[in-house]
């Protein structure tokens, strides 16, 4: 008991350090979701950061707080979002495009390196509907320079 008492003398209490770190983290929107525990002046950070930059920022913020001897950064980094699924074969896309454009006689179409190339004219209302369907075909985008919207 006596040892415990003297070790705290003249030093900041862990609980106070924890409060100070929490306030500092909260002040930065990027770091706001991070949790902290402090023991003997060592701050341990946990939680999920959206990237490495955010993780490093959290440690930097905590390290600057008075009384912190060192920082253990146990924050995890969220995995990057899954890559979009793209139709690998031009002929698969061409077949899907043939289906989608069957009732749009005035339009020409092609597939070039995974991109949908459209030409001709189409009414706005029909185009708005068609674009929704075409966006389901998992293309690599569009070349619409030859398309006119009436």
């Amino acid at each position: 008991m006596a040892i415990g008492f003297t070790s705290c003398k003249g030093k900041l209490k862990d609980a106070d350090i924890k409060t100070a770190i929490e306030a500092a983290l909260k002040a930065d929107p990027m770091a706001a979701g991070t949790m902290v525990e402090v023991k003997d002046g060592v701050a341990t950070l946990t939680g999920e950061c959206k990237d490495e930059m955010c993780k490093n920022l959290c440690a930097e913020i905590a390290g600057k707080v008075k009384g912190v001897k060192s920082v253990v950064n146990n924050c995890s980094v969220a995995p990057p979002p899954a890559a979009p699924v793209i139709n690998p074969e031009d002929d698969v896309l061409t077949k899907a495009l043939t289906d989608a454009l069957k009732d749009h006689a005035g339009m020409g179409f092609a597939v070039k390196e995974g991109k949908i190339v459209l030409t001709g004219e189409i009414a706005k209302a029909k185009w708005a509907m068609l674009k929704q369907t075409l966006d389901k075909l998992k293309s690599k985008g569009y070349d619409l320079t030859g398309l006119t919207i009436k």
Partner: protein
């Protein structure tokens, strides 16, 4: 990141309107937005925002695949062609033989929504086959 800036209003709107499994990523100069809207109204609103940011969707730099969440599987759908009958085919594809036709505004049974593009349907006359989903509107 430039495309995310261009379509920031759309991304914000999708986030704010509780689109499920929202995924936004950029690859080779194209922005892909995928997710599941809680209802048809939300989906229409997002397409309106898209049209505003990129008039007539002509830039070709965004692929937005937003489906509407279905609380229960769709069992009935109305044929919403412009005026013609809807072809029913043996398999999913316009290269497949036509096995029947559903009349304009006829209500059919949806047997399976095996893909986003082609649904397996059955008419009151018992004709069964695949029809293009764009021309089918779910009946509640």
């Amino acid at each position: 990141m430039a495309l995310q800036d261009k379509y920031q209003e759309l991304i914000t709107a999708a986030t704010a309107s509780a689109v499920n499994n929202l995924q936004v990523r950029e690859q080779d100069g194209v922005l892909y937005i995928d997710g599941e809207a809680p209802d048809g109204k939300t989906k229409d609103m997002l397409w309106a925002v898209y049209d505003k940011l990129d008039p007539n969707f002509l830039s070709g730099d965004l692929v937005m695949n937003i489906n509407v969440a279905v609380s229960a599987p769709v069992t009935r759908a109305k044929v919403t062609t412009e005026r013609s009958n809807l072809n029913i085919r043996k398999g999913p594809g316009t290269d497949q033989p036509i096995v029947g036709k559903a009349a304009h505004h006829e209500v059919v049974t949806v047997v399976s929504q095996s893909s986003d593009l082609w649904w397996l349907i059955r008419t009151a006359d018992g004709e069964e086959g695949y029809a293009y989903a764009q021309y089918l509107t779910p009946e509640s």
